[in-house]
Symmetry: C2
Subunit: 483 residues, 2 copies
């Protein structure tokens, strides 16, 4: 590290001496992922991480050390005489020594010295003991310690890689990332299950309140909610940028404690101009899902395997994602469900939405393959979906159903006919609130289409994770907002 | 496009005929950015976009067409006799023709046919007229139409490129992206200026309310707020993954209508284990800022120039970001401010925080260069900052001040001494709420450091944008939450 002296360009005074170099060189310890990728045998290294397992032999102690940079641990060998006092499972350590190949042909650090940075006294209340495996339900009770466990560390690396692959996919296809707002004065689908927001500080509220307004309206001059979707905002941006997407937190205030719902979850939403058929939209969706899945499986093979072998996970369903997705109409789906109702699946009437049970039955029927259900009755779909040109009782909408989760994505062509949209807004009482949305169709309008995909459900599908709470670092669900 | 017939693998029925190909080929029109990058003169093309300018000559009409894929427009030439009726400024059009080089040496589409997809009747209330420039304050009144303007389209492309560069920088340096939660039961800095959240639906609240709890606590069994920082959550994740970052929306319920504040803004926060000096932290921060800035300037040169030439912007301050950042201690800063108070800057007492005026004065004093102020009095900094080893009245904290905005980043070493942290939590009344945070220091603890940078302020600095509301697609500030 070169010391760099900073001179004020004004006074010539030395304020503060500072060493400056690129980040890699500042951290003079070597990351374990880099050791496996590029460090040659014989290198003299400093390693920092946590003890994941410890085996005492006659003269030596063997440590498996992880620094979270990859799923692999580095075996560290230290002679018993040099073993520090508080060296235990769970402790943070640094080890200095030479990289060697052991008799099993594996890389190993023959350590001259091991220092305990932070001890870990398990009997003091640390909830994880060595050589034990725990259920996801148990581990989830300790959200602040969960990132240290092998399986959840793997999940976090996979989630990072999947996020990256989503961004890369859109970027490579010409989409611009738009940060759609979390706070919004409108509620996209007219549903009642939104969270409402106001300042905690009552003095702020009172200072800001205008005549005739409620406490809830004081800060923004209107009732304000947490976004359930960025779609309407994307539709504004797409009429200038042609292709846009967003990837951020969305919220539902439902009292649902299923293994498929969270109060706060991430949604990937894309919108493209000049799209005029559901076929084009299906291609966009199928390409995204297949590309991201294959990126994750390639780049995180070790982590996916680790997750698969850990307790409670059913393993990835990748093979299914390599088949072409199936397609059927809503009417065909109802027909199939009708023919099999009673024996395998409960009844559903034409015109109704599908329950989770029906969704999963259709996926099974299609050979455990993701399946698009297209051409839905307009009565059970939101106002912004485009009326079908063939059948005015239908909209050009689709749901994508997938193994494990049922509904994974929803999408549609958007209603681009000004009068039809105006009528629908008036009928649903949204005309005043969404005047701006209607106005998008008034000036330089274009046909557009888009979809949303729940990111956590996507992770459930590709990784075979039964409970959605095990796909997000800090899950929020009814009666649970720890940390 | 090949037609692909989907057969159910179970029944052999054809459900739906579907064409399938990669996205690029589905959209048979060519994006303007691709025309400038790779289409050879002589190509026969279909282009779709919006008319940004229109000039009528004797026999021809010249259109400048943009599709938002880049700042450049494509000139389209159509003979007057083939000009469609509603062809005006602002209309959405498709044009088919041959790519030629015109007499000025520029690419041009000699169109055989131009069709209006969506007309734009300016006199009907469209707020932007041809050949007029508007102030950012005026344009901001029409948030839903703002993405169509040249300058804001450029801003959105730059914001996308900057987000991408941030993610790439962290990825290349071994950081894992953690989605820290928006909903949280704790308020990181003990400040009162947070938004509080509850379900809008009163029935949900009543159904979920347990005995002795308020309406606000019903959904999550506790008061719940919008996050002001993901730092504490990152500190949990870093003790397993070594290097982590987050990049998402954060919230302040302040009644501040300055040109530097938003109620919802994006924050980049990073946390790294095994960091033991402010020098290392400063290097991490300076590397990030310089790398992202240079990426943006390289990849968005046209957009940056367009933004610079548009009304109300002072232009980029890139040159400053190429100098090494200055460093001084808090005490040196107070001394300098003291010597110059009265004439140029108002007084500030030792032990107090700095006002915006003081921050900007120090930046000016340092030669209009970003400057780190280090070693702050512990009394005016939050509980999690590490007590200085040299002076117990100080903490190892830093602020980075920058031109145009003053405070751009804040960071610190984190208190890793269990007893000192316990004392501080007890004194600030946070001991019960943050027991989990203290526990991070109990098991396998490591030294760590981190910082946060406001993304919109960063855009203000590198682009010279006076008002923060012009750096985010849908700004939220007191009395304003449109759309």
């Amino acid at each position: 590290m070169a010391l760099r002296v900073f001179l004020s360009r004004v006074t010539g005074n030395v304020f503060y001496k500072r060493s400056f170099c690129s980040e890699g060189k500042t951290n003079i310890h070597t990351r374990i992922v880099d050791i496996y990728n590029s460090e040659p045998v014989g290198s003299h290294l400093l390693v920092k991480g946590w003890v994941k397992a410890m085996r005492k032999m006659k003269e030596h102690v063997f440590l498996d050390v992880s620094d979270g940079s990859c799923s692999k641990k580095l075996q560290v060998l230290i002679s018993k005489s040099r073993q520090p006092k508080s060296l235990t499972y769970g402790a943070a350590v640094e080890a200095v020594g030479s990289l060697v190949t052991n008799t099993n042909g594996q890389l190993e650090l023959a350590a001259e010295n091991v220092t305990v940075i932070g001890p870990c006294i398990v009997i003091d209340g640390y909830p994880f003991a060595p050589r034990k495996s725990y259920s996801p339900d148990y581990i989830r009770q300790f959200l602040h310690l969960r990132p240290r466990t092998n399986a959840f560390g793997a999940l976090l690396r996979i989630r990072d890689a999947a996020s990256h692959a989503v961004n890369e996919h859109f970027r490579n296809n010409g989409y611009i990332h738009i940060h759609t707002p979390v706070l919004t004065s409108n509620d996209c689908e007219g549903a009642g299950d939104v969270f409402q927001v106001k300042p905690e500080n009552e003095k702020t509220v009172k200072d800001m309140m205008k005549d005739g307004m409620s406490m809830d309206e004081a800060y923004f001059d209107c009732n304000t909610y947490l976004s359930v979707s960025g779609q309407l905002h994307l539709e504004a941006a797409v009429r200038g940028l042609s292709k846009v997407y967003t990837f951020g937190p969305t919220f539902r205030a439902e009292n649902s404690r299923s293994r498929l719902h969270l109060a706060e979850f991430y949604m990937i939403e894309a919108e493209a101009a000049f799209i005029e058929s559901l076929e084009e939209l299906m291609n966009i969706m199928e390409n995204l899902i297949k590309n991201v899945t294959s990126q994750v499986m390639q780049k995180c093979a070790d982590d996916v395997e680790l997750l698969h072998s850990s307790d409670g996970n059913e393993g990835p369903v990748v093979s299914l994602l390599q088949k072409p997705f199936e397609v059927m109409t809503y009417e065909q789906a109802i027909d199939i469900l009708g023919r099999h109702s009673g024996n395998f699946v409960s009844q559903v009437k034409k015109g109704q939405g599908l329950g989770k049970e029906h969704e999963l039955y259709l996926v099974k029927y299609a050979g455990d393959c993701p399946i698009f259900i297209v051409d839905w009755p307009s009565d059970i779909k939101p106002f912004y979906m485009k009326q079908s040109l063939q059948d005015v009782s239908k909209v050009s909408a689709l749901d994508l159903l997938a193994p494990q989760v049922g509904e994974l994505c929803g999408g549609s062509l958007r209603e681009d006919n000004f009068s039809l949209l105006q009528d629908k807004l008036q009928k649903s009482g949204l005309y005043e609130a969404l005047g701006w949305y209607l106005e998008l169709r008034e000036y330089g309008n274009v046909p557009s289409a888009g979809f949303g995909m729940g990111f956590e459900r996507f992770l459930q599908v590709i990784l075979g994770i039964p409970n959605i709470k095990d796909t997000i670092p800090f899950p929020r669900w009814p009666h649970n907002c720890k940390l």
